[in-house]
Amino acid sequence: MIVPLAHVLILSALIFTMGMFCLLVWRRNIIMMLIGIEIMLNAVILAFVGGAAHWGTADGQVFALFIIAMTSAEVSLALALVVYLHRRKKSVNSDDYSTLQE
């Protein structure tokens, strides 16, 4: 491996943190929240691939692939929901959809 695993993991941690940061800062905007989730998932993919490269097995890469596939399915559904909600209230502000409150 060209760099120690620790460096890869630290990079992954940084990206994950930034993704979480985006999620928390933009938690009123549904679109930006989804983007934050994408960033976090990418960080995880990087960690898997780094692990696969370190131990020389293919399992990490297989799992990275699965994550990519699953993400695409999830994003399509999520955006379909966003379209649906927008049709109802003309807003992507997550605070407007609070009818489940106690």
């Binding site: 979480m20 928390l24 938690r27 009123r28 929240m33 605070d95 609070s98 489940l100 409150q101 106690e102």
Partner: protein, 623 residues
């Protein structure tokens, strides 16, 4: 003897219980008959026991309190002192029961009234017959309670209830002193039997005897309405007139005198206590006589006069003359009950009007009331050869013979008080009964008939203890001599005659003064009689003692209790409990804001929780 004693107590108690339980269901005559009959039966038993009496009789009825060292059985002591007083109490109570059947004829609460009267008689007899201190205290408290219940008999009127409360609370102050004395005596002597304690006075230092005696005196002045605990007696006239006659003239108020007389062998050991008793008695007598001069309410005059006469009795006890004090006690009971009952007739005739200046001319309207009333009045004033004359004079002789600067001063003050007594008594008679005829209601014949026996006893009661120069020693003195333990100094015959002449002259002087001021309707001229004495607020309000007590005791107590109620109880306890509840509510509501249905908040909470877990794992891994 034991049977007689038990029956003396049981009859009134049974009467009270019967009336309490089934009185409402019985017809009026029957329940009244039960009440009167039980008291007269008690009188019969007292008479029988008196005649069967030889020396002192002590019986024990049954075990009552006994635990560890304390042994207080229900034991009764029937000696000559309690015998004569029992006879007097049952007789006067019997007459008053009969009188009140007519007086309370229109009252629908008669069952409660007679039940309380019977209960009172029971408690009083228990007090008189008790040989152990707890039993005496039981009777003591019993009469206090019945007095409270009877003063506030017409409780729907707030003033009556307040008067009852005042009586109870003020006598309670004295009872605390009495209670302390009981506990202390038990601690010192290990026994609560009165006869035993009386014998043990020599075993303890004199200052202890002094303090114990003063504590007993404290209890006595509460019950007998002496200074400084006398403020309740004038207000106690809010009760029905038979109650005033029985309780506040003849029986309860003498309980204090009886207590001191009973304990005289004990407290006589200390030289201080009798002197204090005498001073208090004289001071009260003087105070009450000055106040009685300025009263406009008939019953209040009689209340103050009771206070004054009991002061005389205390003076007798304080001079060591138990016989004289008992003599005056008996005769006073007769004529004071008579005066109160007569006053009841007058008040009923005037349609429940009690202001003497609205009365007048009743001599012609109510002759059958006037003559017994006059008999009582001349006994009270101490006109020569009446029972009151002999009894009051025997006290004054005893005081004179005691000698010394203190007793001489007391003697002079007592003679002056006797003058004042005569003045206010005849003032009362002239204003109520003198003058022209007026319109009155009719008075039931029965009420006036019951006045007669008491009038006879008052007028001729002097024979029970005639002075020695007439030949034989007085009967009462002989009866009580073995008891008193301290023999009074026997007066020389000459001294006694001179003193009697002086006393008689004073009484006649008082009559003359009253005649010049009030006789013949002279008080009608001018406004309300003489403004110097009547309506003089200082004397009429009892030297403003009520106001003084209100300022010294009631207002601070009120302030403290208000603070403790509003400040501590409401402010601290209630409010803190409320605040606790509020805090819980607020906490709940604040936590409830966490579920506002918004994804933003949930997301932040979710991430926060995940971070916490992460940090925890990191922590574990590192350490």
């Amino acid at each position: 003897m034991k049977l007689y004693l038990t029956l003396i107590l049981m009859f009134p108690l049974l009467g009270a219980i019967l009336n309490a339980l089934v009185g409402m269901r019985l017809s009026r005559p029957l329940s009244q008959a039960i009440a009167c009959g039980s008291v007269w039966a008690s009188f019969a038993c007292s008479a029988a026991a008196f005649f069967a009496l030889q020396g002192t009789a002590r019986t024990e009825l049954f075990r009552w309190l006994s635990a560890f060292d304390l042994n207080a059985p229900v034991s009764l002591c029937f000696d000559s002192l309690s015998a004569v007083i029992c006879l007097m109490v049952t007789f006067v109570s019997g007459m008053i029961h009969l009188y009140s059947t007519a007086y309370m004829a229109e009252d629908k609460d008669y069952v409660r009234f007679f039940m309380l009267l019977n209960l009172f008689v029971f408690a009083m007899l228990l007090l008189l017959l008790a040989d152990s201190l707890p039993l005496l205290f039981l009777g003591w408290e019993g009469v206090g309670f019945c007095s409270y219940a009877l003063i506030g008999f017409w409780y729907e009127d707030e003033a009556n209830a307040t008067a009852g409360r005042k009586a109870f609370i003020v006598t309670r102050v004295g009872d605390v002193a009495f209670g302390v004395a009981i506990f202390w005596m038990f601690r010192l002597f290990g026994t609560v039997s009165i006869s035993e304690i009386n014998l043990m006075g020599h075993l303890i230092p004199v200052c202890t005897v002094t303090v114990l005696g003063l504590l007993l005196l404290g209890g006595a002045i509460g019950k007998s309405a002496q200074m400084p605990l006398m403020v309740w007696l004038p207000d106690a006239m809010a009760g029905p007139t038979p109650v005033s006659a029985l309780i506040h003239a003849a029986t309860m108020v003498i309980a204090g005198v009886y207590l001191l007389g009973r304990f005289f062998p004990f407290i006589g050991i200390s030289p201080v206590v009798p002197a204090v008793i005498a001073c208090i008695g004289t001071a009260t007598a003087f105070y009450a006589a000055t106040c009685a001069l300025a009263q406009c309410d008939l019953k209040r005059i009689l209340a103050y006069s009771t206070m004054s006469q009991i002061g005389f009795m205390m003076l007798g006890v304080g001079s060591g003359a138990i016989t004289a004090a008992t003599f005056h006690l008996l005769v006073h009971a007769f004529f004071k009950a008579l005066l109160f009952m007569g006053a009841g007739c007058v008040i009923a005739a005037m349609g429940h009007e009690q202001d003497i200046f609205k009365m007048g001319g009743l001599r012609r309207n109510l002759p059958r009331t006037f003559w017994p009333f006059l008999a009582g009045a001349i006994c009270l004033a101490g006109l020569p050869l009446t029972g009151g004359f002999f009894s009051k004079d025997s006290i004054l002789v005893a005081v004179y013979l005691k000698g010394g600067p203190l007793y001489s001063a007391l003697f002079a003050l007592a003679e002056f008080t006797a003058l004042l007594t005569a003045i206010y008594t005849f003032r009362m008679v002239y204003v109520v009964f003198g003058g022209e005829r007026r319109e009155v209601h009719t008075v039931p014949r029965f009420m006036e008939i019951t006045l007669l026996p008491l009038a006879m006893l008052a007028l001729f009661g002097g024979i029970i203890n005639l002075p020695e120069y007439l030949g034989r020693p007085g009967w009462l003195a002989g009866l009580l001599a073995p008891l008193t333990g301290i023999e009074g100094v026997k007066p020389g015959n000459g001294t006694e005659v001179i003193l009697q002449i002086v006393a008689g002259a004073i009484a006649l002087l008082g009559l003359a003064i009253a005649h010049t001021r009030y006789g013949g309707g002279r008080w009608r001229t001018g406004e309300r009689g003489l403004p110097a004495l009547e309506c003089n607020a200082f004397f009429r309000e009892g030297w403003y003692f009520d106001r003084l007590y209100r300022f010294l005791f009631i207002r601070p107590y009120d302030a403290v209790s208000r603070f403790l109620w509003a400040g501590v109880d409401e402010g601290v306890f209630n409010n803190s409990v409320d605040a606790l509840g509020n805090v819980t509510g607020i906490a709940g509501r604040s936590l409830g804001k966490w579920t506002n249905g918004r994804v933003s908040l949930y997301l932040a909470s979710f991430v926060g929780g995940a971070v916490l877990l992460l940090v925890y794992f990191a922590w574990i891994i590192i350490s």
